[in-house]
Structure formats: C-alpha cells, structure tokens
Amino acid sequence: MAAPMAKRLTREDVAHVALLARLEVTEDELDMFTGQLADILEHADDVEALDVSGVDAMAHPLQLRNVFRDDVVQPCLDRDEVLAQAPAAEEGRFRVPRILGEAP
C-alpha cells in the first residue's frame, strides 16, 4: 500500500509508534512486532499497482449528512456511580498521578 519509495518498517518506527500509543515494548517484543507489522504492510503493498488518482477517499460507508440533536437537557449520570468505577477519586473528582506537562 505504501508509495513505491516506502522503506521496510524499522525497529525505530515501531518504538516511535509505541511511544505515541503509550505502550511499552521489550527488546524482544520490538523485534517480533517489527517483523509482523512489516509483513502486514508488505502484504498491503499489493495495491501499489492500483491507480487511485482521481478516486475519492471513502472514510465512511454512509452518505448521511446533517444529523442533529435538539438542545434539550437530558438526565446525567449519578456521580457516585461514576466515581465508584474510577481507579482513584478524591473530592468528587478523578484522581490522577502528577501531570508532567501542559496539554498541547
């Protein structure tokens, strides 16, 4: 599926996506995932020959547009029920470990 110049997926690529996805992979797993993902991507290269110029992207099977909801208040969840599911809560809020930096 990759453009013709696409190179085979590397360990570094996999380490980078693991970081983006907040997953930790061991060195062994890195080798395993790199091989498997590269195989899958190479299989996907079968479409390289396909001419898709002028073809629209199809992100969704539906042709629907303009689906709305009226601006009417609906019942909310009970806070105790919500926080009972939380791994940690404090003062009516979800407790999380310290945040390292601000949001992007």
Binding site: M1, E24, V25, A44, V47, V55, M58, P61, L64, I99
Partner: protein
C-alpha cells in the same frame, strides 16, 4: 406437550400460547450451559439470577394478560462488548476487568423491550480483534463440533452459545467478518446487517466505520426475528438510518428465488480457498439454480484488495477508539509516579499482543509522513471496492461466496502468524468496507466433517433479497 421448542420463533410462540413458561425455557438453557460451558468456555458471565428474574417478569406479564413482545421468553447471549448496566462488560480484556457500565446498549434495551432474556455475556477475541477467539484474555472458546478446533472469531462465544444450545439466539459484532466467520465455523446462521441498520450505541467500538451488530441463530427465520427487533433508528447513534430497514417477513422467509440474479464472486474462488469449501459453494449455487435463480460467475476485481485496505483502516480507527483505556476513569490502572508512566504501564499490562499490534499498526498508518501512503490510500481503495460492488449489483440481486476459506482450524495454527490469521477474513471484509449486509448460512461439512458456511451478499438495505436466498439455501442444505 410436544417436544420443547428450540428456535426463538417457536419459543416465543409457545410462551405466548402458554405451552411453556419463560422460567422453564430459561432453566432448560441454564442446564445446557451447565452441561458444556466448562468444556467450551463460551461465556464470560452467565447471568442465571438475572435471567430467572427476567423470566419471572415475562411469566407475570403473561399471567396478567399483557401483550408479550415478539421475543418473549427467548434467551439471548450477548457478545461481551455490548454494554449491560451494572453487569461486567469486559471485551475479554484485562483492561476492562471489573467495569460495570452505568448504561445499557440500545440493542439490549430493544431486546428486553421485546421480552428477550439476556442469559450470558459471551467470550470474544479481545476488543473483537481476531478470527479464532484465541485472543481473549480469559482463555479461548472451543468449537462444539470438535473441541480441538477454534470456533472462529471474534464473536466465537456467541457462535458457540447458539451452536451448543446455550441460547437460541445471540448477538455478535462484525467488523471484518466477526459474526459470519464464526457462524460458518460453528455451523450456525450469522448476519451482518447493513451499516446503520442496528444502533452501535453501547457497542464498544473496534472500528467505528465498519462495526455492526447482528444475530447468530440456528435458523434463518430466527435471524430475521432478531433483526426485526434490534434494527431501527436510534437518535443516540448519528450513523443510524432514520428510516430503519425493511422488516423481514414470511414472504422473504419462504425462500422463493425464482428469477433472482445471483453472481458468484470469481475473485473469492481462488487459491486461498480450500477445495472442500469450494465444492460446497458450487453445490449451493446449483441448489439456487434448481430453485429457479439465474446463477453465474462474475468478477468484482477490487474485491481482492479488501484485506489490504481493511488492515490499515480498521487498526487506524482502533488506535483512536482504544486510546481512552488509560486508567483514569474506569477499568484497570497500574499506578506510577506520573501520568505518562501510569498510562503506559496500564495499557502495557491491560492489552494483549494482538490489540497492541493493531494499535501500533493503526498509529503508524495515521502518523505524520505515512498517512497518505497508508491510511489515505486505503480509503481510496475502499472507494474502488465499493464502486466494483455497486457495478456488480447492477447485474445481480445478490452475490455468493464462501464465508471462510477453510473449515475450523486447530488451536495455535495461526497464532504466530498474524497475516495468516487475517487471511481468514478475506471473504467477509468487503461487506464491511462497503457497509453492505451479508449472511452466512450453514451448507454441509468439509472433508473433516466440520461445518462449512456459504455467504450471501447484498447491497445496502438489501436484507429482503439476502433473506430470500438464505432461506432457499437453508432449505436445500444437506
């Protein structure tokens, strides 16, 4: 009393007629679960108390002379990726272990309103990612026809629940074949409805533009009865058809196919398909011909690229859908000194290898510098596939193909080779990419004596034609 009813349609009729009580129905199915669940492991949770209480409500309503719903007293098993209020909903993942949703999925509400009784939450490949139910964090489900074989997946638990008589009907979700392929491997009927026909509200998302809920059943009529209940507009799902889909009635279920135009997809009869499966497909085509349908082979050229497009699109959406499992609001948390560490430790401990593989694949496909080459191109290929199918439906009312390339395979046969596992879905994926309905109907067995399924495909909202052909195949299956 004659023999106890076994299909949903017969059970509901018997309960309505007072020939059997909902309580008796539930007890006999709980007994079936008791008998084989330890061996098959189809269920993550058996809801014996809840089912008995629900049966008592149905029986009380009947005693009070109330009108009963179309599925009154019918036990139903739910794939454990559909939210049930107050009842664990795990996606067979450690990351959701112990989570009790504060709300019901729309399909659950609709089933209950129709009088159906939820009897179990069934096992699946973690987050519906897999084709064998081997990827469950709680251990695999076994094929009831041969417990050394997989039941298919990802809705393996629901397929087995119906095949083993735990429930006459079950719901699964189908993103790339996850209802149809296990239905074929377990010898039951499995339907993926038109995208947008059944609300996804409360279905835990794998790939939102592909996911669709549908029924498993022993009979085509039960699939229709279940579809009639679960399909319909839901204002909570923006991708729900406002007008719903046509109700399937006795006319469609009569299996009259005379004059119908049926195309066998040439591309799905290739090298990857086992000979015994091909033979069954040919017999199915012959049966339709004898019943008066006009059957011929037809090419749907882009069909073969479905797998490539699917394995970029589905993981891309999944990588985003599964970001929320971060240990903050629900489910598993592995604590760490700071939030990034907590996220990483939680997700690393909570997800199994196949889920990680797909999250990474999808993250890569969407990431800067690769989007156009992978995800972007996959969407264009999806267009080509939809275009080729639309062209085929100009000439044919329905298309025909095998459901799965082979009969059920052994445990571990494909676990080390994800690509080989993905090839199990080659016949089923195109319908998901296009948003079209497709059904798998049991049609004999393979050389190993294991069930074979034949797939009928139709264009969006083409369920009536689909059911006509499915009913005809059911009637002629040996």
């Amino acid at each position: 009393m004659t023999a106890a009813p076994t299909t949903a349609v017969d059970i509901a009729a018997a309960v309505r007629a007072g020939d059997v009580s909902a309580a008796e129905v539930v007890e006999s199915h709980l007994a079936a679960i008791d008998g084989r669940e330890a061996e098959l492991h189809a269920c993550n949770t058996v809801l014996a108390d809840e089912a008995r209480a629900a049966a008592a409500r149905v029986d009380a309503a009947h005693a009070a002379g109330e009108t009963l719903g179309p599925l009154a007293g019918v036990p139903v098993a739910l794939k454990d990726n559909m939210c049930t209020r107050g009842i664990p909903t795990t996606c067979s993942s450690k990351i959701l272990e112990g989570w009790r949703p504060p709300y019901d999925a729309t399909v659950v509400t609709r089933l209950q309103a129709a009088g159906a009784i939820v009897i179990a939450k069934t096992n699946l490949d973690e987050f519906a990612m897999g084709s064998s139910t081997e990827n469950s964090a709680f251990g695999p489900t076994k094929n009831p026809h041969d417990i050394t074989k997989v039941p298919g997946g990802s809705s393996g638990g629901s397929a087995v629940a119906v095949a083993a008589g735990f429930a006459p009907i079950a719901l699964g979700s189908d993103t790339g074949g996850s209802i149809r392929q296990p239905a074929a491997l377990c010898g039951v009927v499995g339907l993926k409805p038109t995208y947008g026909a059944v609300s996804r509200y409360g279905l835990i998302a794998f790939a939102s533009s592909l996911d669709q809920i549908g029924p498993f059943s022993a009979t085509v009529a039960d699939a229709a009865a279940t579809l009639n209940v679960i399909a319909g507009y839901d204002p909570r799902d923006s991708t729900s058809y406002a007008d719903g889909i046509p109700t399937i009635g006795s006319e469609e279920l009569a299996g009259e196919v005379s004059g119908m135009r049926v195309g066998i997809i040439t591309e799905l009869l290739g090298d990857g398909i086992a000979d015994d499966v091909k033979r069954r497909l040919t017999e199915a085509a012959d049966a339709l011909s004898s019943a008066g349908a006009k059957v011929e082979e037809t090419s749907v050229p882009a069909c073969i690229y479905g797998l490539s497009a699917y394995y970029l699109i589905a993981p891309a959406e999944a990588s985003s859908n599964l970001a929320r499992y971060d240990g903050v609001r629900y489910g598993l948390r592995v604590d760490a000194d700071n939030i990034t560490g907590m996220y990483t430790q939680t997700r690393t401990a909570g997800f199994g290898p196949e889920v990680k593989r797909r999250i990474m694949l999808g993250t890569y496909a969407l990431s800067a510098g690769y989007y156009d080459a992978y995800y972007g191109k996959a969407l264009k290929v999806r267009s080509l596939i939809a275009r080729d199918f639309a062209a085929a439906y100009e000439k044919y009312d329905v298309l025909l193909s095998p459901t799965a390339p082979t009969t059920a395979f052994g445990f571990g046969a494909k676990t080390d080779n994800p690509l080989a596992m993905y090839l199990s879905d080659v016949c089923t994926i195109p319908s998901n990419l296009c948003g079209d309905p497709a059904i798998s109907v049991p049609f004999g067995t393979g050389d190993d004596g294991m069930p074979v399924g034949v797939q009928v495909l139709a264009p969006a909202l083409g369920e009536p034609a689909l059911f006509r052909v499915a009913a005809a195949l059911e009637g002629s299956a040996s």
